[in-house]
Symmetry: C2
Amino acid sequence: MREGPEIARIAALVADPVRSAMLLALMDGRALTATELASVGGITKQTASSHLAKLVESEVLVADAQGRHRYFRLAGSHVAALLEALMVFSSDAVPPLRTGPKDLTLRKARICYDHLAGEKGVMLYDRMLEEGWLGRDLDVTDKGWTKLAVLGLQQGDLPSSNRPLCRACLDWSQRRHHLAGRLGKAVLDRILAVSWARRLPASRVIVFHPEGERRFGEWLR
Amino acid sequence: MREGPEIARIAALVADPVRSAMLLALMDGRALTATELASVGGITKQTASSHLAKLVESEVLVADAQGRHRYFRLAGSHVAALLEALMVFSSDAVPPLRTGPKDLTLRKARICYDHLAGEKGVMLYDRMLEEGWLGRDLDVTDKGWTKLAVLGLQQGDLPSSNRPLCRACLDWSQRRHHLAGRLGKAVLDRILAVSWARRLPASRVIVFHPEGERRFGEWLR
DNA sequence: CTCATGGTTCGACGCTAATCGAACCATCCC
DNA sequence: GGGATGGTTCGATTAGCGTCGAACCATGAG
């Protein structure tokens, strides 16, 4: 009676149909707003707010405040593992949800302020973390500097300023983080400089050349 | 809203503190009676009966009726996986529960009707399944007959009768299945015949000789 | 500044489900 | 057979929580 309550408390969070629908919608790693999640659950935003507060409080979700929006995502892979363990009991698919731009080129790669966003930007950020180019605090590791040197980026080349070197920026089409900060800008600059990709005039679209896309992928291993 | 309910339904079963305590008590693979589980949950047997009916209905638990007792155990490893996924959120230990005979020799190995029970019996049964001596329907495989031949058991030696060749019998100290049926009897007979162990006079205790215990373990790989 | 929109807080309502007492059925032991 | 024990069913009570309306705060656009 003393050991059960804790797992029961977590299970209770998933036990509500609305909350479980919200969690399933986040299974692919995206981050959604409170209003979108309310729509997913088919409830009003007051109720959604109450649900989300509970999930954040118990660290099942984490929230990123961005302007007047709050983006919610799963707190980690252990949450996804829990949901998968539940799905075993009755095979479910993750629910589709149209979101973001229709324009496929925009979705694939584009400029976000001054750095790379879209699928390619998310891929860059994910790999840098996976491969250990970045540490947990978003500090660049020795391995990271070695790989960045391949692109022609030296540690001394990056002007120091108030702006952080690395920052995680939330992507509005992918709804996942990508690399921002001074390094984010520098990497995009180099990618354009070595002609792996080019920027369409008067547009935010970044177009990778076939050969450049291949090299980009190789560079990330 | 159509995909969430199913996982919510399962989560709701674990969400009750009493039910989760019951499930945790079964995490080690034992089977417990309804009354014992009522005690684990600190509730009356009526309430426990209601909880257990729900868990069986949803195939989270399975029940073995044995005389006037009903033994409940987890329906499979996927249930244990679910509980483990929940325990990640707050490290819990599996609760201890004293059960069964105090007598250590009885607990280790004894005769159950005419076959081997206790730790050694459970070990025999588990290994036969793990190593593929027995198929899913408790049929003896070719590999099984090969290994049984080492003990001097030929397929033709086992007299055919109404009694099933292999049966899973629930152990009252280990609370887990062990091998019964004609094969269960035959194996115990051979173990005694080759003097790996002997039966204490006027007792159900089976005592393994040190050398016999070693060979028994080797035989099971 | 004003309006629109995203999000939260508060309070009241209503439904679901856990709980136990009482009665009942089944099995085992003597 | 009769008594004891394990387990289930039924019904009534109670408590918790999901829900939404209404009001409120914060941010962004014009």
